[in-house]
């Protein structure tokens, strides 16, 4: 049984992702989602989860926190999207949107005092 603090974290994280940080309009949901989910598992599990992809490895090594912050998640999302099967390449517009979001976040984080 999860403790209350962890449940609150999960609730908050799931809600955050529901607000636009999930894939939209996947035409092959099973294939794309399964692969995407594998990447996200790495970011959201405490430990002992198999790291299967290069970006996930890099993220896991670099961050290592449970329920990463906004910046880390957006990086992961972009990386995961770039790995999607070629049949999902029509997602290019969504990828570009997320990349712009990451750039914007990076700029804000790099501002003095952030």
């Amino acid at each position: 049984m999860a403790d209350e603090q962890l449940v609150v974290q999960v609730i908050t994280e799931v809600g955050r992702r529901a607000r636009g940080q999930h894939l939209q309009g996947i035409s092959h949901p099973l294939q794309a989602e399964a692969r995407f989910g594998d990447d996200l598992d790495v970011l959201t599990s405490r430990a002992d989860i198999a790291v299967r992809t290069r970006p996930a490895q890099a993220l896991a090594a670099g961050l290592g926190t449970v329920l990463d912050d906004q910046r880390a998640f957006n990086h992961a999302l972009v990386d995961a999207l770039h790995q999607l099967d070629h049949r999902a390449h029509w997602q290019a517009a969504r990828i570009a949107e997320l990349e712009a979001e990451v750039d914007d976040l990076r700029a804000r984080l790099e501002q003095p005092g952030s």
Binding site: E4, I11, T12, V14, R17, Q24, G37
Partner: protein, 406 residues
Amino acid sequence: MRVAFLKPDHGGVGGFERLVERCRARLGERGVAVEQVAFDARTRARRLHGIPLDDGTRDWHDEYFLYLTALERLDRLDLSGFDVVVASQPPSYLARHPSVVALTYHQARVFYDLADEFVAAGFARPRVHEAAVAQVRAVDGDRVGDVRTWLTGSEEVAARLARYWGIDGTTPFRASPEVLPVPEVGELDPAGPALCVSRHEWPKRTELVAQAAVLDPGGRYELLGGGSRLPWVRHLVERWAADPDAAPAHDPEGTWRNRGAWQLPEGERPAGTGPSEHLGGRLRIHGEVDDAARDDAYRRAAVVVAPALREDYGLTVLEAFAHARPVIVCDDGGGLVELVADTGAAVVVEPTAQAIAAAVAELRDDPARLQAMAIDALEAARRQAATDDLAPLVDAIREAAGGADG
């Protein structure tokens, strides 16, 4: 033109399907194709937005995870082939489509107007619910501004949309009951049962009617409807039958503001289905019945009790009126109170079993008043039947489609 009626599938078939059928007939005359599009809103997901959910986590707030799971499934629907999408229950009004007409009877209420009651009843821990409420409101808030037209089932619902989402200028939509008004009042037995037609769910407060039956030894009462709290209602009645002095002392926390039968050990929960009789036959609990049995119960009844808290609409009131039966509602009944206003066919009481029992006894002892109220009830039903209830919805669909159907 193609119109999708979106329905979160909770496993039941009922009023929504019949409404879709009526719209299909009405819009079909204009060459508009109406299709029902359902999405799963009851199967618990193993993973949500990439995060694995085990039973232990989910049990902390099942409603929250189910809500977002349903939303994830809604987002996977391809609605691009439809000109207009008619949304209904939450979260269908969050559909991503440029022309959404939301036919709203309620928001996901435990995250809005029932948030405090939900915690008070013990369904979720305060901190956990606070986090869930914040997330649902943020998720909803990001999207509800995209809905083109809001149709609301009552002033109660319109006020909630204004209060929580800042949405004003909603259009009233008052669906007719599926029961035509009887030709005349007919035989009305003042000593007939006080009838409650309602699902036994929180916070319908059917417990109050069972409690009133205990407190009113001269009255007969009947409860119709299934639901997850039916075993709890039976449990309370059995306790009160064994110790009648205990009934008056039961406050809301002991009756309806709690988790119901989940508080009882598994082996001690009464049956959740089928009929039962209590209090020497004065109280009959029927469980789920078909429409014919329901209508027969309305005909037998002297008065209909609708005790729900802040109800969105109140079909049971309209059904009672169609059968020429007066009603008793509680002053915090929301849409129920709206429906009976200015009809002369209702008694509005405070939300206690004592007040309900007193009102039932008062009408039983005053046959002339009961008869006059029955006439007024039937008159209200006839007025309702004379209105074109579908018109606001049909107009909204046509407007959303840019008048393409003429």
